[in-house]
């Protein structure tokens, strides 16, 4: 592990395997200044740290129904080796959802799945407005990345379990790993085989990843950063700080996402 850390610290990247980030965004965000929001700048930053692929939901797709997912399609088609997209779902615009799902099959070189953001859209995960998305994703083996946060009415542990009980084959990534409800996140991974924990807003604190590794191992943990919100060097170094083995680091940064996304990339 020390050798890999020394390599990362010296070169700024790990040469023996690439990194896949399954939780990214792009574009301006109303809530904070994000200096590096353009795809070209993001690619420059990705290359400096060995990130091969970012899977992203564009901020405008999430927050501006007039723009919707067309901006994602344009960017992935322009940079297919660097980006894959989530089809963002805004539950307040059912017609947009129907149109997106109708065109989804033709855009399998763009999308790997769907992104849900219930805390922001203020519609609980189990609300019927998302039903068409869950049904489609389960049937077509598409991934869903949902924002989750411990205790949330919209995407907390109770809502997540309602979905998992109903859609047993759904591949679900828990963005932020039910933040602050870590024991429940662990329990859910133990009870539902198609669930993954994602590390954005998790590894900026010591202690949580260590607990995940101890209780569930590294096979169901995915690297995610909200990039361009958070910095890759900072996040990747956290895995070293947590004392993970080289094998665990490789699985989290690369292999787990590689196998999950293999069908799409």
């Amino acid at each position: 592990m020390n050798k890999l850390w020394e390599e990362f610290l010296k070169n700024g990247k790990i040469e023996s395997f690439p990194v896949i980030d399954v939780h990214c965004h792009m574009g301006f965000f109303y809530g904070s200044h994000l200096p590096y929001i353009e795809p070209e700048k993001m690619i420059e930053r990705m290359e400096s740290v060995g990130v091969k692929l970012c899977v992203f939901a564009h901020h405008y797709s999430l927050f501006n129904p007039d723009i919707g997912n067309k901006v994602v399609i344009e960017i992935v088609k322009k940079y297919p080796d660097k980006f894959r997209g989530y089809c963002s779902i805004n539950p307040h615009y059912q017609n947009n959802i129907k149109n997106d799902i109708n065109s989804y099959d033709k855009l399998k070189d763009v999308y790997v799945g769907f992104k849900l953001l219930p805390d922001y859209h203020r519609v609980p995960l189990s609300n019927k407005r998302y039903q068409i998305v869950f049904e489609y994703a389960e049937e077509n083996k598409s991934i869903i990345l949902t924002h989750t946060w411990g205790g949330s009415f919209y995407n907390g542990e109770n809502e997540v379990e309602k979905i998992l009980k109903k859609y047993r084959k759904l591949k679900l990534i828990l963005g932020h790993s039910l933040h602050n409800c870590w024991d429940k996140a662990i329990e859910i991974v133990k009870n539902y085989e198609n669930v993954y924990l994602e590390l954005c807003a998790v590894i900026d604190e010591r202690g949580v990843l260590e607990k995940f590794i101890e209780k569930i191992g590294s096979d169901r943990i995915l690297y995610g950063t909200d990039f361009p919100w958070f910095n890759h060097h900072y996040y990747i170094a956290s895995l070293f700080g947590a004392g993970l083995s080289e094998n665990e680091i490789k699985k989290i940064l690369y292999l787990n996402a590689f196998y999950l996304l293999k069908k799409y990339t």
């Binding site: 904070s32 200044h33 200096p35 590096y36 604190e205 060097h233 900072y234 956290s238 700080g241």
Partner: protein, 236 residues
Amino acid sequence: MDCKFFDVNIWIGKPMNDEKNISVTVEETMEKMSFLNIEKAIVWDISQRDVHPQIGNEKLIKEISNKEQFYGVLTLLPFQTDEIKIYSFKELKEKKIVGFNFFPKKHNFILSKISFGEFLAELENRKFPIFLDVMSGFSVDYRDVYSILSDFPKLTCILCNTGMWNTDRFTWPLLEKFPNVYLESSLLSLNEGSLEETVKKFGAERIVFGSGFPERYFESSIAQLTHAKISKGDKV
């Protein structure tokens, strides 16, 4: 880059609540610092916040007295209640105390001109630093910082734990208006581009390296700074 570090944001000791099991012994902290080339650090003891400043301050003074790599920060309360021992600046220097911090939200007082006016004016004149934690919820928020600095515009103030989300919208106006405000780097490093863009706009002189250990990993701040797109001169 084979760099040596001076970390201004570490606490030691055992917190009242350690749900994530993050506390480490002083010896473990020193061992980790040594491994990562962190030669010096400014530290405070978590009991200053969680037990009482008087208990914690004395514990800190004792703890750092025989460790050359550590300097300390004492925690203050309003002097009117006579709860904490007051040291002269000469005594502070002898005890390797290089600043003060405050936890008004936890310790139930208001950090202002009313409660600390003459004292903060003296710190301002002496250029003696205060360390303000903006994120924990125990210390101050940005509205408090704006207010204090409006009253004491030349105060030497190091803003620590600047916020989980990018805080340029809060910190850049402060850097622009107040010449003695500095940012501790750990959460600038977390936020993509924040450190680089702050250096570009205000100069590396306004940033001091910090890790936030043991709440955050040493390795994270070190790796980010090492590979930040700023000049080597700016890094050191």
